[in-house]
Assembly symmetry: C2
Homo-oligomer: 341 residues x 2
DNA sequence: TCCTGGCACTCCGAGCTTCTGAGTGCCAAT
DNA sequence: ATTGGCACTCAGAAGCTCGGAGTGCCAGGA
């Protein structure tokens, strides 16, 4: 049962608190914003908001501060307000040039995102789960050394060396190659890995097929590697800058950032397969040990059509409007770059 | 003109200050250490040390704190004192198993080092400058698509895809391959890159040799990539734990850590090609914007015989004895692992 | 010549009090 | 519904005292 104006007051409180870092009082609101009413009226509205637990007073007779719930309502009502600043738009277009190298492109993206938001930025690698194996190539690079090349249909290529116990002739190599391609090519990464695992179970390695077994093993290893999600990070230093916003130390946050597993689970929780921006605020992240931080993420679509996520992480008291805009813009731009390829 | 006992006093001051984080007075020294003399005598020694600017009193009538110069003398006199703790030794042997994958091995090394020292750990990738190109392989993976595989004699393998404007037959591929291998194989990475650059200058690309030119280009790109020094890092969270040791904020330190360039220059300054441990203390790092941090590094030798460095970074007030021991041990162990290969 | 106990001196920092001002809740009047 | 007025609250800055850890120095003893 909050009036329309009360919501405006909430917006004002969030805005002022984010920029000033100090509890906001009724007086300063009437000063800084053009409500056509007196401070006493604002106070009544604030009482309403407090009733609904959207704001809270740190101490009796002190200004108010938004609660996690308040931030949440604020964010939910936000949606597509603020336009990207001129400088930000220019930065994105300057720094994000197309690049053939995915590693390189994502590294640049994450740096850019952390710079325009002044937060810690995270970019998840596209998952290869839906991509499929195009081809396996075997190349002899020495009498007993075989180069195994795995080619994925989204352009990714990896290779490993395999040592054989006996010299290899071209016939044998070609035989193994045909066999292997029968087993995995055109299948999805997931299916191919499953097929290989099964083969290994059915025909245990013995002296006659040791090379085949070794090759299978390294291919399986490479495929498994794809299924691991990975992410890149930049701007951890920004945490130190916003240190006062964390009650204790930034230690647990930095620690979580090093544990990529935690971050990946966090990303996983935020509607995978949803392209649009979503935010996770304050204690909503408590299960991950990040109860004073908020995360704003957006999905982006990679060349193979998979959806991965990117976003920023910072103190609960962050500039949601600005960060949401920036994250959305970068995600769209990145999708565009990857789609053109 | 410092007496022998004065040096012992310096050692005691460093030890106590490192463990207690508080200025140490003459009384607490006689209490905690078995000097056979009275506090007054210690005071005289401390006056000597202060004369030599090895220690300093933060305020009149307060205990003393080592200066950068004091730490330096302490470290220089240290050399091979403390043995590795049982737990540390076990940790090293547990976590550092041989691994075929250099990335993986170095990632594990850096995590291990940060865990046993509780500092930020850094491991530099071995430079490929002295390694040489073993072989270039070309594989047709489609009518107009060529896979270029670069094999380095230290076991590293990389690949790129090249698109041709016209269909390729086996003859042409084989011709290009022979030509290319003549140009680069058995040469060092540096020499090979130089040779390719020259070829490009001599015969500019035209319609007849566009594939050769493209292949040269990607090989050159791969080789150039090797020459970039890189490093991996772990344990940044430990900075937050030792935050009180930094007068201002840890922001500049975290920032420097993200700028790998800075760290690489820092590593570069510390006698490259020297295998043994060396330390850079406090203001000695001022040119890098790290005047409150110390760095302890050691060289390690990679399989191809190049020397790279690894080490830890932390507040000037750090446990030099322990960190030096740990860094040395990890470097030796890593060298051993890489040498066995 | 080096060491020691004694003594006067310094001053940080913990603990206490005071005081001010920003901010509140409530109420009667509009 | 909105407003001005009023009594009330309390965090935090400023000022104060005071104890204790630590110092420098000196004169006497080994």
């Amino acid at each position: 049962m909050v009036s329309e104006r009360s919501l405006d007051v909430l917006r004002a409180i969030v805005a002022d608190y984010v920029s000033s870092r100090e509890p906001v009082g009724s007086k300063s609101i009437v000063d800084r914003h053009q409500f056509g009413v007196s401070a006493a009226t604002i106070r009544n509205d604030m009482a309403q908001l407090e009733e609904e637990q959207l704001i809270v007073a740190p101490h009796t007779s002190s200004g108010r501060v938004p609660t996690d719930k308040g931030y949440r309502l604020f964010v939910d009502q936000l949606r597509d307000k603020r336009p990207l600043s001129q400088a930000q738009r220019r930065a994105i277009e300057m720094f994000l040039e197309p690049s053939a190298d995915l590693d390189d492109l994502l590294a640049r993206t994450v740096r850019l995102l952390s710079q325009i938001t002044n937060q810690v930025a995270l970019v998840q690698y596209p998952s290869f789960a839906r991509a499929s194996v195009r081809h396996i190539e075997l190349v002899s690079v020495g009498p007993t050394t075989l180069l195994v090349v795995v080619i994925i249909d989204n352009g990714r290529v990896d290779q490993r060396l395999v040592e054989s116990r006996h010299p290899l002739d071209d016939d044998e190599i070609s035989r193994i190659k045909t066999r292997l391609n029968d087993e995995v090519s055109t299948r999805t990464v997931t299916a191919a890995a499953a097929a290989l695992a099964e083969c290994e179970a059915v025909e245990p390695a013995d002296t006659t097929n040791d090379v085949l077994a070794s090759v299978r093993e390294v291919v399986l290893e490479v495929l498994s590697h794809y299924r691991e999600d990975r992410l890149v990070m930049a701007g951890a230093a920004n945490l130190a800058r916003t240190e006062e916003d964390f009650s204790g130390s930034i230690f647990p946050v930095l620690e979580a950032l090093e544990q990529q597993v935690v971050l990946l689970r966090l990303f996983g929780e935020m509607q995978v397969d949803q392209l649009d921006v979503s935010a996770s605020i304050g204690r909503e992240n408590a299960p991950f040990g990040l109860d004073e931080t908020s995360i704003v993420t957006s999905g982006y679509r990679s060349s193979a059509g998979e959806i991965a996520r990117l976003g920023v992480l910072g103190p609960t008291r962050m500039d949601y409007a600005g960060n949401i805009t920036a994250v959305r813009a970068v995600a769209r731009y990145l999708t565009r770059l990857l789609g053109v390829e």
